[in-house]
């Protein structure tokens, strides 16, 4: 579980995060949604310890990350998996070596054991035949799956995903969404996803936080989002006619 309490972050004069509090639960896919510039990426980078913040606390299972010693921070980071927007695979390593990378850095496994573990995880993301390819030879969807495999190979307790569906076709995007959702439940991970994709919200949003102008404007689940009267949320989520019609149909059906 990750608990964020009254988080404030500024860049010079610009006050980006204005006191956000939120709890991200274990075994759930926790989504952060909001318009561009609402502070989602800054919030995620604060969670990851890539940005310092001025006020507030981030607790990983009761431990305040900022107060940890450098060694403990490093141990904590070994428990974190991250899927970047652009996958961020290491160009000079093969897909298999990319997946083995966290194991090489943080474990004392032999090369064969690492390879076995990497191949199990690659199989889990349906990439068992791609392990000798270079990242440049893989499609966008494959790269995302490799990034997920790399993020989960060391059995992380926390998984962060920044726009995991960006640049993917709708079918591949759903495959990636479902994969993250299944892995979260299977490994009991606390997953936090930063997304713009409304399909993801409807498919896997166990818990959703809506950010607007650096403040939490709404929170709920994928079921709540159909019923909410919060104008800020409905303006954003139902900005397309298709989603408006879907919502109307669902509400009609429920009534």
């Amino acid at each position: 579980m990750i608990e964020v309490k009254n988080l404030h972050k500024s860049f010079g004069e610009a006050h980006i995060l204005k006191g956000i509090s939120q709890t991200f639960h274990q075994g759930k896919t926790n989504l952060i949604i909001g318009q561009s510039g609402s502070g989602k990426s800054v919030f995620l980078k604060c969670l990851l310890g890539l940005y310092d913040y001025e006020e507030g606390n981030i607790e990983y299972n009761g431990e305040v990350f900022a107060n940890l010693s450098e060694d403990k921070k490093r141990d904590m980071r070994a428990k974190i998996g991250m899927v970047f927007q652009g996958s961020a695979l290491f160009d000079s390593l093969t897909i298999e070596e990319n997946v083995m990378f966290p194991l090489r850095m943080f474990t004392k496994l032999s090369k064969d054991e690492m390879r076995d573990r990497a191949n199990i995880v690659l199989k889990r993301v349906n990439l068992e035949d791609a392990h000798k390819k270079m990242p440049s030879e893989a499609s966008g969807g494959m790269q995302k799956r490799v990034a997920i495999a790399r993020a989960i190979v060391n059995n992380p307790k926390y998984l962060f995903c920044d726009e995991p569906n960006s640049g993917l076709d709708p079918k591949t995007a759903i495959v990636i969404d479902n994969l993250i959702h299944e892995i979260t439940e299977e490994y009991k991970i606390t997953t936090v996803i930063n997304t713009h994709d409304m399909n993801s919200v409807m498919e896997i949003g166990d818990s959703i936080m809506f950010l607007k102008d650096g403040l939490k404007a709404w929170e709920g689940t994928k079921d709540d989002i159909f019923r909410t009267d919060n104008e800020v949320v409905t303006d954003f989520v139902y900005s397309s006619n298709l989603f408006k019609k879907v919502r109307e149909a669902i509400l009609k059906e429920n009534n």
């Binding site: 990851l48 310890g49 890539l50 450098e70 921070k73 490093r74 141990d75 904590m76 980071r77 070994a78 974190i80 991250m82 970047f84 927007q85 652009g86 961020a88 695979l89 290491f90 160009d91 000079s92 990378f101 966290p102 090489r104 850095m105 943080f106 962060f160």
Partner: protein
């Protein structure tokens, strides 16, 4: 003000490079890869340039000696001094700022743009140590490259001298041996080590701290080449003043 900030950041990067070292089994492979990319990969171009520039230095010297009173050995002597003292350590380093420096800046810059450096940081890896330290260690083998440049430069001069008919091989070799100061070799290698440090760290700095996208990677490579060259020229002046005057 920005210059001061950059200089400060550069020195902080150097300090950070020695903190939180990467696992030795991983670091060993990174060093070997960088030796291959930066040192072995440069040998071909260094050999080619050194050989032909050595030849040109000899031809230019020979053509500018008009007086019959000046002994022919001077051609070998002048070639040796030019190549050992300046051409091999200094001007070869400026060429390497273009080859090795641009490679370092663009490879680290691309890692920055594609969030690979963020990925390392999220994993708790000291990305500066992971990326820059192996390059610094690899560049410790740079004097080997310069030794080859010195040798081939002189050989190129000898060939040009013989086949151009400017002097006999005996005259040239006598010139090479004339008034030889072993300290000149020490001076050349002190400079080479200084330049190796500059070649590994300044391009890394420009790649690591770049912001933006693909276009900015190109700009960072150009800026890196300019500043690496300027630093080499200034250090060359200081080292010469301190060690030879």
């Amino acid at each position: 003000m920005q210059y001061l900030h950059n200089i400060g950041t550069y020195f902080l990067m150097i300090i950070e490079m020695f903190r939180k070292p990467t696992k030795w089994s991983v670091m060993k492979e990174l060093i070997l890869k960088d030796i291959d990319d930066l040192i072995i990969g440069s040998l071909g171009i260094v050999a080619f340039i050194a050989f032909f520039v050595g030849g040109v230095v000899t031809i230019q010297t020979a053509l500018n000696i008009d007086s019959p009173l000046i002994p022919k050995e001077l051609i070998g002597f002048a070639t040796r001094q030019s190549i050992l003292l300046e051409f091999a350590p200094t001007f070869m380093s400026i060429i390497m700022a273009g080859k090795v420096g641009s490679f370092i800046t663009s490879s680290i810059g691309t890692m920055r743009v594609t969030e690979q450096i963020d990925a390392l940081e999220v994993m708790g890896i000291n990305s500066i140590n992971y990326l820059v330290f192996p390059k610094l260690i690899a560049m410790a083998f740079y004097p080997f490259v310069i030794s080859i440049a010195m040798f081939l430069g002189v050989i190129g001069g000898l060939m040009a001298c013989i086949y151009g008919g400017y002097a006999s091989a005996d005259d040239f070799i006598t010139g090479i041996q004339q008034e030889f100061e072993p300290f000149h070799i020490v001076y050349a290698f002190i400079k080479t080590f200084l330049f190796a440090f500059v070649l590994a760290t300044i391009p890394s700095f420009h790649g690591y701290y770049m912001k933006g996208g693909a276009l900015e990677v190109g700009e960072a490579s150009t800026t890196s080449f300019v500043w690496t060259s300027v630093t080499i020229i200034l250090l060359n002046y200081l080292a010469t003043q301190l060690l030879l005057s």
